[in-house]
């Protein structure tokens, strides 16, 4: 049983369900639940649904303190770059308090933020900064690409006893898709093969999954069969599924909305260059944003970002290479 839902809706449904399930889950952030008409507020009251000032360090730091003393806070941050003013709490407090205490405390909290605002939001609102939070021991990072994953990863995030950064892609907010009815959990660290294929493995997250699937479709017409994998969580990262796919295809293209040297793509490439090297028959190619901040004007922004054509070109280049090597 499943029902069609929007990506944005799916997250909200998960939060509501989890708040109904567990009285320790609380939810707050800026510019939310302003009036008594707010449905969440009506359901859960001002004690559990709160408005915060523009104070990300305090908002997140308070979540950390609440988490180590028994609550499970969800903080609505709206745009991932606003987390930059509070990065110490995210990188250096939340994921380390448990470890430093020798395992005495746990820090269950969810930091929810949109990202990838490729819609003219310009230099400070449109970048992808997940690379800063990936690979931090103790911190988990989820990036759903479908409504079902949006719901299942949110539920997993809320139930996780560790700090989780949950990043949802702005451009996917209204996308619809089937979401299983009732409790639905997408476990962390399990990549999803969004499309099976034999000639090349494409790994992508968020909006880039959609673009990669479109490119894969396009490539079918050229006789190229692409497998598209979405790791769904960048931390933990399911290297195994990716390597397994590369074992089959021999080629890897990584698609990432971030600039290449600050991308998740680079980390995945490194893992495969170590653990899947023997299966590779062509260079690992990264399709990323060009090395600039995101510009305002549409033609500039489009030029900068990865798209279907760039992905297809990259795939052709490695498939060609493969062909060349076989020849």
């Amino acid at each position: 049983m499943s029902r069609e839902m929007m990506y944005g809706e799916a997250m909200a449904v998960s939060i509501t369900e989890e708040m109904q399930r567990d009285a320790n889950v609380i939810f707050y952030g800026q510019n939310m639940a302003m009036t008594e008409r707010d449905p969440m507020l009506k359901m859960f009251g001002r004690n559990r649904v709160r408005i915060a000032p523009i104070s990300e360090t305090a908002e997140i730091g308070i979540a950390v303190g609440a988490a180590i003393t028994g609550l499970r806070p969800i903080v609505e941050l709206w745009m991932s770059e606003f987390m930059l003013v509070a990065m110490d709490q995210i990188i250096n407090e939340a994921p380390r308090l448990r470890y430093m205490s020798g395992g005495q405390v746990k820090v269950p909290l969810v930091l929810k933020a949109g990202y990838g605002f490729a819609a003219g939001w310009a230099g400070q609102h449109s970048n992808c900064i997940y690379h800063t939070m990936m690979g931090i021991p103790g911190l988990k990072v989820a990036l759903p690409s479908t409504p079902a994953d949006a719901k299942g990863l949110m539920t997993a995030a809320i139930r996780d006893d560790n700090p989780v950064v949950y990043l949802h892609h702005y451009m996917l907010t209204l996308d619809t898709g089937d979401v299983p009815e009732g409790e639905y959990i997408v476990p962390f660290g399990v990549a999803d093969i969004k499309r099976a294929g034999n000639d090349v493995t494409i790994v992508a997250t968020g909006w880039m999954v959609k673009k990669s699937l479109a490119a894969a479709e396009q490539l079918t017409r050229e006789g190229i069969s692409a497998e598209v994998i979405d790791p769904r969580t960048l931390a933990p990262l399911d290297v195994e599924t990716i390597v397994k796919s590369v074992k089959k295809t021999g080629r890897l293209v990584l698609v990432d909305q971030a600039p290449r040297q600050s991308s998740a793509a680079a980390v995945i490439a490194a893992e495969v260059a170590e653990k899947g090297f023997e299966h590779l028959s062509a260079p690992i190619v990264m399709v990323t944003a060009l090395d600039a901040s995101v510009p305002y004007s549409e033609p500039l922004e489009s030029y900068l970002l990865p798209n279907e054509d760039k992905i297809s070109d990259a795939v052709r280049s490695v498939v060609g290479e493969h062909a060349r090597m076989r020849a």
């Binding site: 606003f82 230099g123 451009m171 600039a292 004007s297 549409e298 500039l300």
Partner: protein, 351 residues
């Protein structure tokens, strides 16, 4: 607190007729620019992308402040930055072209509405991240102090921004180093959709936000930001203090934002538009909004100038018309300007 003083007649004598008319002229130019921007969302849907914030309602506060400015003083507003460069003499055409993402834009289409910059006019740029530009402003003041140029800095930011760590850290440092900067806390009653009383402990307690100055042992004052002359008066004192090496001051300028926080945040390709003000759209409080409209600084200041015989009705009409034509031309210029070449996107990353 000068909060509820009536229109500051006593100050008019300090300012000559030309200066008073200059103030009105800048106010109406700002209003016209913003009206043109707002209309763009209807008339040229999709032409402006991302997030655009307007200054209607802030005109008296901004122009009253900048009327105290010397020619080389720095001006550092937030992402809500259309008004300030207009007053500094930046071309409305280039500004509008920037908002339209065009090649002839002030920042060549790279910045957009939130990131105007005209360093030649002492307007070195803005930040879209709340509170961060407060530190940048103090940095400009540091330059002035280290180089002993006599410049001061006008630093504008919102009521909401005064809850960001950067605000507090910077004010302490500016006070400590006696940096020549005037901090203008623009209390327009809202941080985006949230009323100030819901997010500021001073406001919740019924205290003025200028009370935050006590945390830094600097002067703090609250002024009616709908009256350019009252604003002028307070800012002039703070500017004098800054110029004479005594350090910063905090001025809470109270007025009301007359448009919504910004255009609606929609998901492409859905077009965006300008929603109703949050008082109505979020809180259903039409009375609050109507009362604010009644305090609109522009008709109020115009009436003052007319009653003081500084401006006749027809002279005022001529100024209004001129501003309208200027902004019509700006829109025409923006529409005629080509989009940037895509390959430009990787320029300007490094100096």
């Amino acid at each position: 607190m000068n909060d509820h003083k009536s229109l500051g007649k006593n100050l008019a004598r300090n300012l000559g007729k030309d200066r008073l008319i200059w103030i009105y002229t800048q106010m109406i130019r700002i209003r016209e620019f913003e009206e043109h921007v707002k209309r763009t969302f209807l008339e040229h849907p999709g032409a402006m992308r991302g997030h655009t914030h307007l200054a209607d309602g802030a005109e008296a506060s901004i122009v009253g402040t900048l009327a105290t400015r010397n020619a080389t003083d720095f001006v550092m507003p937030t992402y809500r930055c259309h008004a300030h460069p207009l007053v500094l003499g930046t071309s409305a055409k280039k500004m509008m072209a920037e908002l339209y993402g065009r090649k002839d834009g002030l920042c060549k289409g790279f910045g957009g509405s939130m990131h105007l910059a005209d360093p030649d006019r002492y307007f070195p740029g803005t930040s879209g991240i709340v509170g961060q530009s407060i530190a940048h402003a103090a940095g400009a003041a540091l330059t002035a102090q280290v180089k002993n140029t006599g410049q001061i800095v006008y630093c504008f930011f919102g009521d909401g921004a005064s809850k960001q760590g950067a605000f507090f850290e910077t004010l302490n440092l500016a006070a400590l180093w006696k940096l020549p900067v005037v901090f203008i806390l623009e209390n327009n009653e809202y941080q985006a959709y949230t009323h100030v009383a819901l997010e500021d402990a001073n406001a919740q307690a019924g205290d003025p936000l200028s009370q935050k100055a006590a945390a830094f042992s600097i002067p703090g004052v609250t002024v009616d930001g709908n009256d350019p002359l009252l604003v002028y008066d307070e800012v002039a004192k703070a500017a004098e203090r800054a110029r004479t090496g005594l350090g910063p001051s905090l001025i809470e300028s109270k007025f009301y934002r007359l448009s919504a926080h910004g255009n609606a945040i929609t998901i492409p390709p859905a077009p965006t538009q300008f929603p109703e003000h949050e008082a109505i759209g979020v809180y259903g409080n039409k009375a609050e909004y109507r009362a604010a409209k009644d305090r609109d600084p522009i008709p109020r200041f115009a009436a003052h100038l007319e009653s003081e015989k500084i401006l006749t009705q027809s002279e005022r009409q001529a100024l209004d018309d001129k501003a309208r034509v200027e902004m019509d031309d700006a829109v025409a210029f923006a529409l005629a300007s080509p989009l940037p070449e895509p390959e430009e996107a990787i320029k300007y990353v490094y100096a």
